[in-house]
Every structure is written in C-alpha cells, then in structure tokens.
C-alpha cells in the first residue's frame, strides 16, 4: 500500500507542476550584464549638480534592453553638459537595477526619492515594475518617465476599457505608445490595408498578450471584420497542431497573436504546416529576429507592429545613432534607446524651463518645478515630436508595420494612429 500512496502523491505533484508550468519558464535569454562606462555626466564643479535617476533591468535576462536604456540616458546627460544646454546646471545620472522585479523596483524608487539632486527618473522597462513605483514617486512629487511601459492601466486607470479614463498619478509620464494604440493600429492595418476580414485571435494569457489581443479583437469587430475563433495557449507549450487544425477549419484569412516571440515562432511554423496558410500578425513582442528563426522559414509574410518609426530612418535620430556609436558603449541602444534618450531630454527641457522661469537661477524646489514643466515640454526628439497629453501619455502615436520578407523583418508601413 505504501507504494501506491507514494504514486498518488507523485501524480499530484506532477499535475501541480504541469499546470503551474504555464508562464513560469518565459524566455530565459542571453544575459550579458556588463556596465559600460562610468555613471556621471562630467562637467565643472561650480555649477549646480542635477541628477537624472534611472531604473531598468541592468542585470538578468532583460539586461540587453535595460543597458540600452541606461546608456541612452547617460548619453543625453553628457550631450546636455557638452552643449552647456542649461547654463549653471551640470547633469549626472544615478542608475538603479531592478532586475525586472517589482519589489526591487519599489526599493529603488524609495532610494531615488531619497537621493539628493534627483529631479526626474527614466524607467522602468516593465509595466509590472512601474505599478509598484508610481505611488512612491507621486508622493515625493518626483517625475517619472517610462520609455517602454505599454500597459494602458498605468496612465488611464483600470477602467479604460469601458471608456472611463482617470489619470492615476500626476508624476507618471511615458514616451512609449500604449497597447491601446498598438492593438487598434494593427486592427486598422489588417482590415483596411491588408483587406483581411476573418481573423482568428490567439493569446498567451499574460497581461501583455491577452490585453493586446482583446484590444485588437474589439477594434477589428468595430471596423466590420469577423473574429472567427479565439484560443489561448500556455507560454512554453510546444505542440500547437490542434490549434492549427482549428484555425484551418475555421476558414480564417489571418491570425492575430498576442504574446511574445518564443511561442509565436513555433506557432507560426505549425499553423502553416497544419494547413492554415495565412499570415500571423502580432505586436512588438514578436518583432524580433528570433521569431523568424523559430518559425523555420514558415514566417514569410507574417506581420508585426512596433511602436515608433525605425530609429535609423529618422533624420532627428541620426545624430543620436552617431553619438551612441562614438561613445563606444559595449551594448546596443536596443529597442528602447531612442525613447530613453527622449525621456531624458524631456527632463532636461523641463529643468531648463524651470530655471528660465526663475530668472536664470536654479529654483529651490526644482523637483516640483520640473514636474510642473514636464507636462508642457514640446520638442523634436529622436523618435519624433515629444510631448505629453493630459494623462501623461506621449502624443506621438507613430507606429510601424513590419513583415517578414526573405527571412528578415522589413518595414511595410509607418503611420500615425489617429483614433
């Protein structure tokens, strides 16, 4: 009897492990945690020292993105000092590593609030981390600009889905576009430009994927398209043949997937092998060279939206790219470098405005002044025009549709989302 009860216990453990495996193994990727360069912007000692805080995953699996953020902000501080952009003010940076962990993020927020001279913070990368930091910054009246958060809840409040917008924290701003804009833009492109009318919607049940997929589906239906079926997968699943059969049987002419490339690549591959020879469309989570590789050559014609315009293409960005290269950072500026650079410059512009309104002297309550000025800044940045609306979201609603052609993502269409 003892053996059979051991067996029962083991089965229970197995079941628990299998079912809890959903989501626990998401994308362990290369981690090259290196800190390139020193963390001060330099400058002369007679002027007032103003610090731009940074919070990003500088180590861990997302460090490639985090280091891009850190380096870009540092570059902005250096540029401002070199140009003596705000007379009498020297910018420096204070970078904190959140390892994509909300708890660490909150501790960093508290530390940054307590650091003398910090007038604004750029970061974090993850929406989940932002959730724990927002209130800390708001209580301290310290401005926060995220270059990468896409969750609409952070600025519009939890009821944005039903049209009730309520700004959550006066201190929160972002230079990244939200999933509302991205999902709707994708639906409009698919229906109006690609002329697809029957879409099958799949998501990975995670906050980003499920949110994006439902925003897309609502807009697609509003435009007149049909959602012929929906399904969900578990992140980390390998076999999608049953889903492929459903998609093929449903007569869909396209598939929209809310999720990230580690699952999207194999899904695209198996859809086509399973007889559903229709393009898979996704958000910035699948816009990665790894997607093309994982789709085993079956990714041709697949589509993805990504926020902004390719940084390399913009005239305003050429200087940034050149300076970044010249600064010899070990890690690339990555997906959010341009947005981080613009976020840092927004803080610098706000400092400049605050100083000018104070008759050329640095005001004593610089933090509050910067926060007040930030809502009014307007300049042309690396990613286009930089300004914030009444919710703290960027007014720049540029997006680009990419498509896989000959094994690489190629730009198809850039556009500005207009509601």
């Amino acid at each position: 009897m003892r053996k059979s009860s051991l067996l029962v216990v083991t089965i229970a453990v197995t079941a628990a492990l299998t079912l809890s495996a959903c989501g626990s193994r998401g994308g362990k990727s290369d981690s090259g945690a290196d800190n390139a360069g020193a963390s001060n912007g330099g400058g002369n000692s007679s002027s007032t020292k103003v610090v731009i805080g940074i919070d990003a995953p500088i180590s861990g699996s997302l460090s490639a993105l985090g280091l891009g953020i850190r380096n870009s902000v540092e570059l902005a501080a250096k540029q401002a000092n070199a140009k003596n952009y705000v007379p009498g003010v020297t910018f420096s940076i204070e970078a904190k590593d959140d390892q994509a962990n909300p708890t660490t993020g909150k501790q960093n927020a508290t530390a940054l609030v307590d650091t003398k001279g910090v007038v604004g913070v750029v970061g974090p990368l993850n929406s989940s981390v932002s959730l724990t930091m927002q209130k800390v910054f708001d209580d301290a009246k310290l401005a926060q600009i995220s270059p990468a958060n896409t969750s609409p809840d952070l600025s519009l409040g939890p009821d944005w889905g039903s049209g009730k917008f309520a700004r959550q924290y006066q201190s929160y701003f972002r230079t990244a576009t939200t999933d509302v804009v991205q999902g709707k833009f994708a639906a409009q492109y698919l229906y109006n430009d690609a002329k697809k009318t029957k879409v099958y919607v799949i998501d990975d049940k995670k906050t980003y994927g499920a949110g994006l997929a439902s925003i897309f589906a609502d807009e697609f239906k509003r435009l007149g398209g049909t959602v012929v079926g929906t399904d969900h997968i578990n992140p980390g699943d390998k076999d999608f043949s049953a889903i492929a059969t459903k998609v093929a049987g449903a007569g869909a002419d396209s598939v929209y997937y809310g999720g990230e490339y580690p699952d999207a690549g194999p899904l695209s591959d198996q859809l086509k092998k399973g007889g559903a020879k229709v393009p898979l469309f996704g958000g910035d989570g699948i816009y990665d060279p790894e997607f093309v590789k994982l789709a085993n050559g079956n990714g041709e014609g697949d589509l993805a939206t990504s926020v902004g315009v390719p940084v390399e293409e913009l005239d305003s960005a050429k200087e940034f790219v050149a300076n970044y290269t010249a600064a010899n950072y070990k890690d690339p500026y990555a997906a959010y470098g341009g947005y981080s650079y613009d976020a840092a410059w927004a803080i610098i512009e706000a400092v400049k405005a605050a100083v000018e309104h104070n008759g050329g002297k640095v005001p004593a309550d610089l933090r509050t002044q910067v926060l007040a000025e930030l809502g009014k800044v307007k300049f042309t940045g690396v990613t286009g025009p930089v300004a914030f609306d009444e919710y703290g979201d960027t007014t720049n609603k540029q997006l680009t549709v990419y498509s896989v052609q000959s094994g690489a993502w190629k730009k198809v269409k850039s556009g500005t989302y207009s509601g």
Partner: protein, 309 residues
Amino acid sequence: MHELPQNLANGLMLGLMYGLIAIGYTMVYGIVQLINFAHGEIFMIGGFGALTAYAALPHGTSLWLALPVMILGGVIASVLTATAAERFAYRPLRTAPRLAPLITAIGLSIALQQVVWAFYPGGKKALSFPQFGGDPIGLGSFHLQRNDLFLLVAAPLCMLVLAAFVRLTRTGRAMQATAQDPDTAKLMGIDTDRIIVVAFALGAAFAAVAAVAHGLRYGQVDFTMGFLAGLKAFTAAVLGGIGNVYGAMLGGLVLGVAESMATAYVQDVPGMHQLGGGAWANVWAFVLLIVVLLVRPQGLLGERVADRV
C-alpha cells in the same frame, strides 16, 4: 466535426511521442520502483546529441543519410547520461528511503537542464533542428506532415523491438524476473545491477528516438523541452499502468488524443467556452487521469502495482 480525422492524427502523433518517452519511466519503475524524474532531461539531451551529430557531418549532407547518424548520436548521448545517472546518482541510494532517490531525480533534472543551458553552444535559446522539406501529404482537408512519417514508423518499430527483446532474449527474461522479484532473481544468478543499467539504457535509447522525432516535428530543440514532455510522458505511464511497457504506449496514445480532442472540441460544448482551447488541454488531460485512476487505480493495463506491497 469534419476535422475529426485531422485531430485524431494530431493526437496520435503527440501520443506516439509521449509513449516512446513513457517507456523509459515505466521500465525503470517496473524494476527499481524509482520514478526517474530526470528522464525528461535524458530525452532533451537526446535531441541535443542528435543535433551535435548533424552539425559534425559535412555541410549539405542529405537528411536521409544524416538521420541514422543523428539517431545514433542522440542514443549515445542519452544512454551515456542515463547510465551515468544510474551509476552515480541512483545506485548509492538504492537502499535509502524511497523519497531520497525521488528528490535526487528532481535535482538531477534541474542540474541537467542547467548544464545544457550553460555549456551547449547557443543552448540558451532554442536551436533549429534540420527538417525534411516538401509539402504535407494531403487528402482533402487532412494533412500528414512528412516529418511525422519518421515518428509513425519509428514508434511501432521500437515497440516491436522492445517486445521481442523482453520476450525472446536472455537479458529480457532476466529483466522480467528482476521486475517480479529482485531477491529471487539474484538467487537464480541474475546480475540485477546489470539488469537495472540495461533498463535505464533502453529507456534512454527510446527517449532519444522520441527526441529526434520531436526535433523533426517541431523544427527546434531547447533546454526546457524535457520538462513538460517528461511530465506528460510520466502521466502517460501512470495512465497506462506503470510498470507495463505496452501500457506506456497505450497511455501515451490516450493522453495525446485526449489533449488534441480537448483543444479542438471542448470550446464548442455549450457553456464551456471558457474551459476549452489549447490553454486547458493540460487540465482535461489530468481530469482524464484522475477519472481513470478512480475507476482503475492500477492504470489501463497495470496489474502489479497494487499487489506488490
């Protein structure tokens, strides 16, 4: 319902793969009553072994010629890992309380994953596995992937070889004897240590074949692939009756078809829309397992578990 043949075929493929892996669980359990949780990683290492063998061949070798070499590479990698695990991780604990080797197995599973993650070149991300080109073989809306033909041939062949081995060879019969009563088998002059190694090695070899099939079917291998596949195969082994090799294959097939059916049809049942689809396939698979175990605690083909105290 016109997709039924396709869904059955999807489930069959998944089931054959589960079954091949499950044989390793069931053979080891039948002989030493150990649930070798590291078996999923043995399967994963088989995939990497096959990939290494393919990479070692001259560039541009036809996959038809490469396939036997890949299978061999996978089998060597898996068998070496499994026998080493048996020798150094499980044998010292053979007389220890039963939970000790179980925990060792879980630890070994994590360790093997991390070794591949850390040391296999490019192993931190999924690696592409070579595949046969060409369109699927189709009949109306029914498709059969060319890459799946390997599994369709290899799995039954493996079962035949195993059945013949267990019934006809001396070692096979010694294995049966050891499973029935290790002490008496030892008294009859059977080297039980050797039999246990053979059981681990055979299970590993089948897992390697399954890994090649997995690579061909999904076009990639990665260091986490053994985790879920291993758990599912273990479930299949229990479902079929742990200790019974035919049960392992049957359990695999039942599980594979159940998952495929659950993904395809549960959503269409009125009121069940939220409980269907790919995300719920695992839940339904385990519901099935619980129901089967309530009715037949020994599994579909199991006989021995309950009467061996």
